[in-house]
């Protein structure tokens, strides 16, 4: 079972991963976006980790909801409301349960991913974070490792796609051949989740 402390460690691990990969995310974003994805997510998840270290909510739902709200208020780019909605919706779905199992977490994250789709109006194949998140939450019912692989595979699979949402969509055909930064950072979330779960 996974409790509030687990969720805090997950968010802290995401903050570490985003900090480590910020340069790469920004590089990917400079090819098809506005070159701020790494810096924006680093600002957001650093703020999340700091807030959670100071005042950790007791339940995993409380942790994810607080993290989501923090991202919305600190990021400053589209990734803020998108990741914020993912975590906030997942947190609300978990409710006040003191601990959840992997299947429960998978269901909550699936609700979060659905909310991201509604917010941005994107679907799988549009070259967005959903291309990593959607297969990852589906595979999470199997194992943490499967979720991580599915997310990484989903992110790599965005390379030949043409962007249909966000700034990258203005590039049309020229967005083909680049890995989507949002799908790449989404894979970091699931890599961190596996790390913390298997630790």
């Amino acid at each position: 079972m996974y409790d509030g402390d687990f969720a805090v460690r997950w968010m802290a691990a995401v903050a570490v991963a985003v900090d480590r990969e910020a340069g790469r995310l920004t590089e990917l974003d400079s090819a098809i976006g506005d070159a701020d994805h790494g810096a924006n997510l680093r600002r957001g998840f650093t703020a999340v980790a700091e807030a959670l270290a100071k005042e950790p909510p007791a339940t995993p739902g409380g942790v994810l909801a607080a993290a989501g709200r923090r991202l919305i208020s600190t990021v400053g780019g589209a990734s803020g409301p998108l990741y914020g909605t993912l975590l906030r919706r997942a947190g609300k779905e978990l409710g006040e349960e003191p601990a959840v199992d992997r299947e429960g977490l998978a269901r909550a994250l699936a609700a979060g991913v659905a909310a991201v789709g509604r917010l941005g109006g994107a679907v799988v194949g549009d070259k967005t974070m959903l291309d990593a998140l959607t297969p990852a939450v589906a595979a999470l019912s199997e194992s943490f490792a499967a979720a991580r692989s599915a997310a990484e595979e989903g992110a790599r699979a965005t390379v030949p796609l043409r962007a249909r949402k966000g700034r990258a969509s203005y590039l049309g055909e020229r967005s083909i051949g680049h890995q989507d930064p949002g799908a790449t950072s989404s894979a970091l979330l699931f890599a961190a989740l596996e790390e913390v779960a298997e630790a």
Binding site: D36, N40, R69, I72, S73, T74, G76, G77, A78, S79, G80, P81, L82, G84, T85, R88, L119, G120, G166, R167
Partner: protein
């Protein structure tokens, strides 16, 4: 004018990635809305420390500043401005009651919204006036 707001007027928030764009469009709308007593309009542009981006904090602050109880119309430029306002509206307590994202062209919609709100139009009237600005073709 449809809808009686009981003397209170709809507030307008202009959200842009750029502080300069948001404040200049607010100024333009005030100038084009004519003289007299205008409805409250506030700019929420860029990031709090400067730079391009969307700030939930500035948006929420601007919405509170123009809220007189008749509702708040939020007009946005693109991308994260749209998504941030939608994400804030999905929470119960982030924006004043009666806050609404208005689907409108930013500049033309701002002028239409301010004219309508200043004339005492309710939130529905302000929102439809701003949205109708899409229908004005330029060629």
């Amino acid at each position: 004018m449809s809808g009686d707001t009981g003397g209170k007027r709809v507030g307008i928030v202009l959200v842009s990635h750029s502080a300069d764009v948001a404040s200049a469009v607010a100024e333009l709308a005030r100038g084009l809305a004519g003289g007299g007593d205008l409805a409250p309009v506030a700019a929420a542009g860029g990031l709090p420390g400067g730079g391009l981006g969307t700030s939930a904090e500035l948006i929420a602050g601007a919405a509170r500043a123009v809220d007189t109880g008749a509702g708040v119309a939020l007009l946005v430029d693109l991308g994260s401005a749209v998504l941030t306002v939608k994400a804030l509206l999905a929470e119960d307590d982030e924006l004043p009651e009666g806050a609404r994202l208005v689907d409108a062209p930013f500049v033309e919609g701002a002028v239409a919204a301010l004219v309508t709100a200043s004339a005492g139009g309710d939130l529905d009237a302000v929102a439809s006036a701003a949205s109708e600005a899409y229908a004005y073709r330029k060629e």
